[in-house]
């Protein structure tokens, strides 16, 4: 394989590998804008120009492949290519390209939404000149163009790297975008009569290295350096995209994809991303409650469990009908199983399979819940697609609904038959992160932490086990279902795992033998591939 030398470092290259890719995997800094590992190579920005020994002019590292030289022509007797990222020629090329890029780029970083995560800022700091030599009026271009329902385009900040255009033509294959005009008036436009409205449109904002494309939902909400971030998993379909939640003062402001070749490459769909918006509309109650003839009474958790335990005892010992959800983590499922065995009269729970639409070629799955594959692995039944909840609860005097599927597209009590079935129960316990219409029908309501408020593990449709994070602290006493179960078991005089997530993860390990020798550390950052067939 060709031997490449970059500065003082020797790199054994792979067949057909480019200088830039060899440098990136060897942690050698070469600046670039238009290059993106998932997109075709166009060599347009010229930022990655480097001096290559023997070449008459600097070459773009992104498009220059390292080809083997005949043995007698090797440089210094052994190298097939010698590249310098620090020589005067390279430095001058980098400085001049940056100067060109900034000529007509507005220097209003203080009010730019990209500030803090802008490649132009970062490279200017590292490679650029401190002062601008351009003493003319900058070229003006359209600003605040609503190029799509979720994306806003700023023609002045755009550096014409065409990553967004290539994303639309190569990844989603929808081809909405193009360059228009020529020369310094060049700008990105949607084709006439079209909008950037494909299901992955906001990924263009992710790939935009500057502030030219901004997300309509997030733009100007907060300066990025004030955001607190946590890596987690998207709960909106069976893909379970690796994501990062960005939060500020207790609110999720945006959700962005994390690179994970095993799951979602670099992308995520707009629907999953806009969960951050839908979270705002969830009706919540922070305290557990019990409904009597006089109406709802809400308690602190300390008061609640003894009262609840009594109510439970009074309700007899017929098995609970249990409706579970693919939004429960593996730990919550393990907790349910323990609860079912000890307190719920050996109830057999069924996780609802919520489905809509169709699988697409990229990420979106018809199965809309993140952890149904996990349920199957945990030995929990998964219902038919969009099954009849009324049938599941038929002839059940006692019932429990955990993490009712309401945040998405299919709340349980859509049909009168379901409402009737719920009303006919003598004891209906609803444990969930939202206080929904179903909760209103319940006799007991246990508030839970939401998906992004707890640690847990989840398995996607391909068997990838990933860890979710406690992105935000749940308000007040809301806890993951497994913690509620610990308290419940204790109140019922049973023994229960103590210590929250790690203790319950140990329970999961008991149920999934493949995990027995794995630690939580093994799950980061990309997760763990479980074997194909569920044990």
């Amino acid at each position: 394989m060709p031997l490449l030398k970059i500065d003082d470092q020797e790199i054994e290259t792979k067949a057909g590998e480019t200088v830039l890719s060899a440098a990136l995997r060897s942690n050698i800094a070469i600046p670039y804008y238009c290059y993106h590992p998932a997109l075709s190579i166009v060599g347009q920005c010229r930022m990655c120009l480097v001096e290559v020994k023997g070449a008459p002019k600097p070459l773009t590292a992104c498009s220059t492949t390292v080809t083997p030289l005949p043995p007698d022509k090797k440089i210094d007797g052994k190298y097939d290519m010698v590249v310098s990222t620090k020589s005067e020629i390279t430095r001058r090329a980098q400085r001049s390209v940056l100067e060109f890029l900034l000529l007509n780029h507005p220097l209003d970083c203080p009010i730019c939404d990209q500030a803090g995560e802008c490649q132009l800022q970062e490279y200017s700091y590292t490679y650029g000149d401190p002062a601008s030599r351009f003493d003319f009026e900058k070229v003006h271009a359209p600003k605040r163009v609503e190029i799509g329902p979720h994306v806003v385009y700023d023609g002045e900040r755009c550096i014409k790297c065409t990553r967004c255009i290539r994303f639309c033509s190569e990844v989603t294959k929808t081809g909405e975008l193009t360059l228009a005009e020529r020369g310094v008036h060049t700008l990105v436009e949607a084709f006439p009569g079209r909008k950037l409205d494909n299901p992955y449109s906001v990924c263009t904002v992710d790939v935009c290295p500057v502030g030219a494309l901004t997300s309509r939902e997030f733009r100007f909400k907060e300066r990025v350096w004030f955001l607190q971030s946590a890596n987690s998993v998207c709960p909106e379909c069976a893909r379970g995209c690796s994501v990062r939640y960005d939060t500020y003062k207790g609110d999720v402001l945006r959700i962005v994809p994390r690179e994970n070749p095993e799951v979602n490459a670099f992308w995520m769909c707009d629907y999953g991303r806009l969960l951050s918006e839908r979270l705002k509309d969830i009706p919540r109650r922070d305290r557990p409650g019990i409904r009597t003839e006089k109406g709802w009474a809400f308690y602190s958790f300390e008061e609640f469990w003894p009262i609840f335990a009594k109510r439970l005892q009074a309700s007899g010992n017929s098995p609970f009908g249990a409706v579970l959800s693919g939004r429960m983590t593996l730990e919550e499922m393990a907790a349910y199983k323990l609860l079912a065995a000890k307190v719920l009269g050996n109830s057999a729970g069924t996780a609802l399979n919520i489905a809509s639409g169709a699988d697409d070629d990229l990420l979106i799955r018809r199965e809309r819940r993140p952890n149904l594959a996990g349920a199957r692995r945990m030995g929990i039944a998964v219902s038919e697609e969009n099954c009849d909840v009324a049938a599941l609860l038929k002839n059940k005097r006692r019932a429990i609904i955990i993490r009712e599927d309401v945040v998405g597209d299919a709340p349980v009590p859509q049909r009168p038959a379901v409402v009737k079935a719920l009303q006919e129960t003598e004891l209906l316990v609803v444990a969930g992160d939202a206080f929904t219409a179903t909760a209103e029908l319940a006799h007991v309501y246990i508030p839970l932490a939401a998906w992004h408020e707890m640690e847990g593990t989840t398995v996607n449709f391909m068997g990838q086990l990933q860890k979710t994070a406690r992105v935000l602290l749940p308000p007040r006493n809301r806890r993951p279902f497994y913690d509620a179960v610990s308290a419940w078991l204790k109140a019922s005089g049973e023994e229960a795992p103590e210590g929250g997530f790690p203790a319950w993860f140990a329970e999961v390990k008991k149920a999934v033998p493949e995990l027995s020798n794995k630690s939580l550390r093994d799950l980061l950052p990309r997760g763990l591939k479980l074997s194909e067939v569920a044990p």
Binding site: G43, Q44, K57, F100, K160, R182, G183, V184
Partner: protein, 436 residues
């Protein structure tokens, strides 16, 4: 005074010169028949290689060598790999108007060259991409193609040789950049005309991704003569570094502007003073651009060189497309450069950074100097910016814009400095409307 050659331009001025009968009456299509019936593709290729025919579009790459890059049928292959020829008739370089003369006066000569090249490379057909602003030429060439089809010179099984070859005439939409070979191919495919990154070169990935060879109109026009008269005959014409007849289009301040067919060992002085009749109004010569606006400019004292590669290289310039632009002492060089830079800034496709931003910056700086608002250091900055564009872009348009900028400032530094210092033009030329 030497005579002009009458090889490529022999039909110019002839009555009904575009008709196939006129062309064949003068011995036209004989070379094609020789090639198809008496020569193997390899022999034709060998002859063109031996002639050292260099591309006439501006870069001067040896045509035969370029043809040989196309993939050929290997032993065991059932059929010839699919490939195309492209004829670049997007003649847009400022100061260049030689291809237009050939297209409008002698289309069959070009077509014959294309068919011979098709035979030599065993291509499936040729796209004739003609500049959108030449509707007349497109019409004439299309008629020539139709006539050739009707005689069986194009289409299936040409003259019983078993060789199939088609020609399609395509019109451009008015962009200078589409004269660049890969931008032309993008445009042909109906995409935005912007150059592709190389490699892959057209011989590996050309029109519609098919291996392609692209040559200039004048290059193809030379081919029938090489086949007819032999490589030795061809090489005997002109200087060894640029053999064969060559068309020089001379414009600007000369008494007889026009296209002259000359051997390349003619000097620039002979072209200007003997053939083109000297400087308009008998005034002194100031500057000459020798090969289309992109080639570095020469001063009046640098014209005693032959117009081949070596001769022009000795004064730091190149033969380019053969478009000679002559300027007398009334021309303000700042203004002339402003004119050029306005063109390049306007025509930059905008995809790569140094050219998109650099040409615009150059235009602004030059306009400022011309308007008498130049600042000390501006001429030096022009040279520096040109240096930052040069060799840093995807396609040669960056170089094409940088070379005149750098050379104008270098060759006429006094004039640029005088503009900055005296805040006016020393040659009292009226400035172009200032854009600042």
């Amino acid at each position: 005074m030497a005579e002009t050659l009458k090889i490529l331009t022999r039909a110019v001025g002839m009555q009904n010169s575009t008709a196939i009968d006129t062309y064949m009456h003068g011995g036209g299509y004989e070379a094609m028949m020789t090639a198809l019936h008496k020569m193997s593709p390899e022999q034709v290729l060998g002859e063109v290689k031996a002639s050292n025919l260099k591309g006439r579009g501006g870069a001067g790459f040896p045509a035969g060598l370029k043809w040989s890059f196309l993939p050929r049928k290997r032993e065991g292959d059932k059929q010839e790999p699919r490939k195309f020829l492209v004829c670049n008739a997007d003649e847009s370089e400022p100061g260049t108007f030689k291809d237009r003369l050939l297209i409008e006066n002698d289309p069959h000569q070009i077509l014959e060259g294309i068919i011979i090249a098709g035979w030599a490379t065993q291509a499936a057909g040729c796209f004739f991409y003609i500049r959108g602003e030449m509707p007349q030429g497109a019409k004439i060439f299309q008629r020539a193609v139709d006539q050739a089809y009707s005689r069986g010179f194009l289409g299936k099984n040409i003259l019983g040789s078993g060789f199939d070859f088609d020609v399609w005439v395509c019109r451009g939409a008015g962009a200078y950049i589409c004269g660049e070979e890969t931008a032309l191919m993008e445009s042909l495919e109906g995409k935005r005309g912007q150059p592709r990154i190389k490699p892959p070169f057209p011989a590996g990935y050309g029109v519609y991704g098919v291996p392609s060879n692209i040559n200039n109109v004048e290059t193809y026009a030379n081919v029938p003569h090489i086949i007819k008269n032999g490589a030795e005959w061809f090489k005997a014409i002109g200087a060894p570094s640029l053999p064969g007849p060559r068309l020089y289009g001379i414009s600007g301040h000369v008494n007889r502007p026009g296209v002259y067919e000359l051997p390349s060992n003619t000097t620039l002085r002979e072209l200007i003073y003997d053939f083109a009749g000297g400087i308009l109004g008998g005034r002194p010569l100031k500057a000459v651009i020798p090969g289309g606006s992109s080639t570095p400019v020469l001063r009046a004292d640098q014209i005693d060189v032959t117009m081949d590669v070596d001769g022009l290289k000795s004064v730091g310039t190149m033969p380019g497309s053969g478009g000679v632009i002559v300027m007398n002492d009334t021309v303000c060089m700042v203004r002339a450069l402003h004119n050029l830079m306005e063109f390049y800034a306007h025509e930059s496709c905008g995809q790569c950074t140094p050219c998109r931003e650099g040409t615009h910056w150059l235009e602004l700086l030059i306009a400022r100097i011309e308007a008498g608002e130049g600042k000390p250091g501006d001429p030096e900055r022009i040279a520096e910016i040109a240096g930052n564009i040069m060799g840093r872009t995807i396609c040669p348009l960056g170089d094409a814009a940088a070379m005149p900028a750098e050379s104008f400032v270098r060759q006429f530094k006094d004039e640029f400095d005088a503009h900055v210092k005296e805040k006016r033009c020393p040659c009292k030329a009226t400035p172009m409307t200032s854009r600042i």
